[in-house]
Amino acid sequence: MIDTSHIYDVLIIGGGNAALCAAITARREGATVLLLEHAPRTLRGGNSRHTRNLRYTHKQANDFLTGPYLEEEFWQDLSRVTAGKTDEALARYMIRESEDMLDWALNNGVRFQPPLSGTLSLARTNAFFLGGGKALMNAYYATAEQLGVEIEYHAQATDLRIQDARFTSAMVTQRGDACEVRANAVVVASGGFESNVSWLKQAWGDPAENFLIRGTSYNQGRMLRVLLDQGAKPVSEPDQCHAVAIDARAPRFDGGIVTRVDCVPFSIVVNKAAQRFYDEGEDIWPKRYAIWGRLVAQQPDQIAYALIDAKSQGLFMPTVFSPLQADSLRELAEKLKLDPDALENTVAAFNRSVKSDNFDPSVLDECATEDLDPPKTHWARALDTPPFYGYPLRPGITFTYLGVAVNAHAQVLMGNDEPSPNIYAAGEIMAGNILGQGYIAGIGMTIGSVFGRLAGQEAAHHAQNGAA
């Protein structure tokens, strides 16, 4: 049960990476800390449960990374995917602050692994958690408990009392009982609103019904709504998110990493009219996977099919769901409920446009189509060797970017751009400050870690010094 007689120094709302980084930091600063996790213990950790690595700045290779990754390169990578939709000052601040993040995580019980297989393009930039994100969260929870952070599961913050931009208390529901929790400062790290389908529909319309949510079903955006309603300044747009194309047979929530389908660059992808709609071979897959969720979301009924033939089996990660398989394109079309004539025409036109046979999956090869719209600029090989395989794809939403604006103290900006004296935000709920659009692997954890730690520190200082 939550102790409501007490005024905590710092209240943390949320139970993912950002929340735990904030809780541990605030507690280490000497603050009394209460952390509210909406999920039960078995499902704790928000979307961080599903993550795998952390992108961070480092000056040289180390036990876990193959080479240096400096501020400028990190910034270039970020500004490329966001196409300028980012707060440069805040982003650069985050990039610099990320530098000692690995040591901080190690000191708080997280273990990393050397880059092993299949992660060649990230082996220099991203440190991989041993055992993945749930192992990371287990380590942070164990550390927080050991330090004396009070942790309550099943505890949902439903409302915040805010007067003149100052937080006084939070309304909390736990197993059906409602109570009011008072604290001198609050860190809101409760995620985006990606699991709230009716909110997604406001932004996307009916297509949102066909979206799959790759992470926790607890990210309902309740705190985001409360903060925006009480005058917090919004950042990014409701339809901006990290979305990838995942197997259409994935569960509605929490399918996580295994629902990925990595065959796109070696496939042709058609919509339900059996028409291609984008260059499948535009770039290497680690640089392109993050655009395909949006691409599929723009197709009729938000469905698409990646088709390969026997030649391409084994070139990509095995999938958790078996592909639909057939000995002819017509038969495959029937299995996928596509018009067989239309599919045959699409494949025939594609096959005719394929010229080079210098196929090489490990580089941007010369296999490009000629006179085809849209083109396939690499790895274009005729689909002519049965059996043929089809993977149904749907948009898989990882997290939403609409959030609250923060300053370099992680304080939430209220309507007139004035920072709240004691409301801080970290993680997905403020990711839109950095990510206006697009995504690069591992940056969700950079945002959560850096701003979580910052928010915890600032909140603890505020609670201890200037609380009155």
Binding site: R111, G118, L130, G132, A135, R260, M317, P318
Partner: protein, 375 residues
């Protein structure tokens, strides 16, 4: 779970794991899995025996219950391991010993020990049995040397034969060829992995046993048991040499090799098995295979009893209790020999065979597939 269902469930989980791969840094199972695109039954059995049951993957698993994918790899592989003990048992009719192995091993222990005690009591004169004996040949005044050696050597050789046949068939099915057993690099790799229990280190912080916390204790207890057992084997071998080679009769002085090796080994077994039983009592039931628990406990208890009775015999060998203690210890040792090929002990052979296979596989070129990484 019936065998076919167990294999099907193992395959289902392996497909999920192979699409995830987050656990690749914990042990050998995942790198071995990643070299495969499909999972025929023999490969599943190999992976099950490569698994050391450290449970790190379970607590790290985003698909563990209550997730709808319901992934419980340690439990499933433990059940499949036990199934493989059954499948490779020789002779075939005795495979059923693994159906209710805890009970079987307990019965063997109680019956054999009781039988030896009864026979000793019936055959031996009470005046001799409860007298104090000392000096060379003291034991043999209770039980003639031949009476001890013939049944124990007979049973031991049979056990050795049964274990060897199981081990050989497992190796063959796993795809390890005889000439590969002569490859020093492979064998050195497998031997060091086994000697260090490398795959109980969980990538550095130890295993998640008996619960979510990382711990090196299970590994240290297992070391105590394993090296204790080997020291006891060494003690017995030296004693056999003393007897037949040098004509020296037991009991040997406290400062002799058989007694020193046996005492250190016995204490190792006592601490190791006691520790492992103590951990097992606290073990988190979720990743545990309940069907295998009886087997695990019974063998640990039998080994613990062997060491305990041996140490008691050592302490009390110059008192009137020696006769009874000798009968008990001899009975327990006979039971242990008899139970070896039909108990948890068999895991040593199959685990080692799996480590040999893995030692060859790990040299393969790592995959060059690019992942989306995704998060």
């Amino acid at each position: 779970m019936p065998k076919t269902a167990l294999l099907k469930e193992s395959e289902r989980i392996m497909r999920i794991c192979n699409a995830c791969r987050y656990c690749e840094g914990y042990c050998g199972v995942f790198p071995a899995m990643m070299q495969r695109k499909s999972f025929p039954d023999v490969d599943l059995v190999y992976l099950a025996n490569l698994c050391h049951g450290c449970r790190a993957c379970h607590y790290a698993c985003q698909y563990a219950p209550p997730h709808e994918f319901d992934v419980n790899l340690p439990q499933t592989l433990a059940a499949l391991r036990t199934q493989s003990y059954r499948d490779y048992a020789w002779p075939k009719p005795l495979a059923r010993a693994f159906d209710r192995n805890g009970l079987v091993v307990a019965l063997i222990s109680v019956l054999v020990t009781t039988l030896v005690m009864l026979l000793t009591y019936v055959v031996q004169d009470a005046g001799v049995l409860f007298a104090t004996h000392s000096g060379a040949g003291a034991f043999y005044q209770i039980m003639p040397h031949r009476v001890m050696v013939i049944p124990s050597a007979g049973i031991f050789l049979f056990a050795l034969l049964a274990l060897t046949i199981g081990f050989t068939r497992f190796l063959r099915d796993t795809g390890v060829r005889v000439h590969q057993l002569l490859n020093p690099r492979t064998m050195w790799r497998a031997a060091t992995d086994a000697a260090q229990l490398k795959f109980l280190t969980g990538g550095g912080d130890g295993c998640n046993y008996p619960n979510e916390r990382f711990s090196h204790l299970p590994r240290w207890y297992h070391h105590g048991m394993m090296y204790g057992f080997l020291l006891c084997v060494a003690a017995t071998s030296v004693a056999t040499f003393y007897h037949y080679g040098l004509g020296w009769e037991a009991p040997y002085p406290f400062a002799s090799w058989p007694v020193v090796l046996g005492t250190v080994g016995g204490i190792g077994i006592l601490v190791g098995t006691g520790g492992l039983l103590w951990l097992k009592m606290q073990s988190d039931p979720e990743p545990r295979d309940r069907q295998s628990t009886g087997m695990d406990v019974a063998f640990l208890a039998l080994l613990l009893l062997t060491s305990l009775t041996g140490l008691l015999l050592l302490v009390a060998r110059e008192t009137p209790a020696m006769g009874v203690l000798l009968a008990i210890h001899f009975g327990v040792v006979l039971a242990l020999f008899l139970a070896l090929p039909y108990s948890k002990f068999v895991h040593a052979g199959y685990r080692f065979a799996a480590l040999i296979k893995y030692a060859r596989e790990r040299r393969a070129v790592p995959g060059k597939i690019e992942l989306s990484s995704d998060y």
